[in-house]
């Protein structure tokens, strides 16, 4: 990659295992600053675990992770998690209204969110303003996913990790979210890392791509690599022979 190699997040021989399973093996590389990197690979390849490491929910067994050039273990966990926002695949909701969920990052800091701010965020992710005081559990999967993205944006993270956020959305909503994420990336120069199962989506929206197979980075580089991968496992994955 011909970009600043310090990267927004850089991995230096990172290993991680849990319950005796070696999930991530010798991960080395970086997510370029201010770009959209897609993270693809078969189920169980360790993609979500990599995100959990970046957000500081777990720590590596070996190796180092650097966020904006600073070792992750030197960060105050609260500062790290505000810097590296994570939208979880399950889009978990806390009990209560859409507003309560949306305002959660501010509530955790002892601050409040005005209705205007909340409506602005809902509009941004394409949710109807009228949802504001509805029970969040009553939203559809896709609507909860949009709400989850909006909630992550409240902390204005410099790096945004998106874990399969469009997997439960219809084509139109998927397109809206892709446009929104590109907009955020261009307007605020937010570094985006996006886990997706959709190869075409990875090619369309990503500047760069990482292919993770069996806990290892099988191939990484500009998104065009997905057209003609060199690695045999990646070739099989791209052809749909590995899921």
């Amino acid at each position: 990659m011909s970009v600043d190699e310090s990267g927004a997040i850089r991995f230096d021989h990172v290993d991680y295992s849990t319950d005796g399973t070696h999930i991530l093996k010798d991960i080395t590389g970086y997510f370029p600053n201010g770009k959209i990197t897609t993270l693809i690979g078969p189920s169980g390849a360790g993609k979500t675990t990599l995100f959990r490491l970046c957000n500081g929910l777990v720590s590596p067994d070996a190796g180092n992770i650097y966020v904006q050039g600073k070792a992750i273990d030197r960060y105050d966990p609260v500062v790290l998690r505000r810097t590296v926002g994570l939208a979880l695949q399950q889009a978990p909701m806390i009990r209560g209204t859409v507003k309560k969920n949306l305002a959660l990052p501010l509530t955790l800091q002892g601050e409040t969110m005005s209705d205007e701010q909340a409506k602005e965020l809902l509009n941004m992710v394409g949710l109807d303003e009228q949802f504001l005081y509805r029970d969040s559990k009553g939203l559809s999967g896709g609507q909860q996913q949009k709400l989850s993205i909006a909630r992550t944006l409240v902390n204005q993270p410099a790096i945004l990790l998106l874990d399969e956020i469009t997997s439960s959305l219809d084509q139109v909503s998927q397109h809206d979210i892709e446009t929104l994420i590109k907009q955020i990336n261009q307007t605020y120069e937010t570094t985006i890392v996006w886990i997706t199962h959709n190869l075409q989506q990875a090619i369309d929206i990503g500047d760069y791509a990482w292919v993770l197979i069996d806990g290892k980075v099988a191939e990484s580089g500009e998104s065009s690599l997905l057209h003609h991968p060199e690695n045999r496992s990646v070739q099989q994955f791209v052809k749909g022979e590995i899921e």
Binding site: S17, G56, P77, L86, P92, L108
Partner: protein, 255 residues
């Protein structure tokens, strides 16, 4: 009551054995074991209490209370095995409840500082504290297991461990203490408490018996709240490390 009349009460043991035989419930062995154990345990406690009451030595009273705390800890710890250091957390809670309640009772001159009062009241307080800690730990661990995503969500959004676990903690404290509070609302209407009944049968003035029962009820109310809150606030920090990550068996991750 004489030993002869006490032996007559074994009729109440014969009835379940006969019923078990008739309906092939295969409970005879358990009924017999329970009967023999209760006779030996209670008679032993009776003789030990008689000895302690006679000698009036603080050391024996202290040892009795220690024995109660050890037994209560042993019983309750199994429910909190997923929580690091649960043994000392339970011991500290039982000790705190004991010191608080006896301190108020003796300090305000509500009950005399004699073995006759200290030991039975300690038994009730520590026994109740044990049940409450079991109820709390049961609820708390299952709340965390079923709402792990919610805890992780709050952590991922830069919340502190206390903020992440707050809802599970409060709902477990409430759920474990509600039965005690609800039971007190219907006491006297649905059931006559055991201690009061026992005193009345033994010939005590019913009004005096009621007054002592009220004392016990209020004690139990304090015990319930103090136990759940203490166990809760002692337990939750050990579920996280200094990097604000969930650790241990309840995290779904390794230590």
């Amino acid at each position: 009551m004489s030993y002869l009349t006490l032996s007559m009460t074994l009729i109440f043991v014969l009835i379940p054995i006969v019923l078990s035989k008739m309906f092939r419930l295969e409970l005879e062995k358990d009924v017999l074991i329970a009967t023999v154990r209760s006779i030996i345990q209670l008679l032993a406690v009776g003789y030990v209490l008689a000895f302690v009451f006679d000698t009036e030595k603080w050391l024996y009273m202290f040892l009795m209370v220690v024995l109660m705390i050890v037994a209560a800890t042993h019983n309750a710890m199994r429910k909190g095995i997923a929580i690091k250091g649960i043994v000392w957390k339970l011991v500290v809670t039982f000790l705190a409840v004991e010191v608080l309640t006896q301190g108020i009772l003796i300090g305000f001159g509500i009950t005399p500082a004699t073995a006759q009062y200290i030991i039975p009241i300690s038994g009730m307080v520590i026994g109740n504290s044990m049940v409450l800690s079991i109820l709390f730990l049961n609820r708390f661990t299952s709340e965390i297991e079923s709402h792990r995503y919610e805890v992780e969500l709050i952590l991922s959004l830069a919340g502190t461990p206390k903020q992440a676990i707050h809802r599970q903690l409060i709902s477990s404290i409430k759920a474990s203490t509600i039965p005690t509070i609800e039971k007190q609302k219907t006491i006297g209407l649905v059931q006559l408490p055991g201690m009061m009944g026992g005193q009345i049968i033994a010939g005590a003035d019913p009004v005096q018996a009621v007054m002592f029962q009220l004392l016990v009820l209020f004690l139990i109310l304090t015990t319930a709240l103090v136990t759940s809150i203490m166990i809760g606030f002692l337990s939750y920090p050990t579920l996280f490390n200094r990097r604000m990550q969930m650790i241990g068996a309840l995290s779904g991750e390794k230590d």
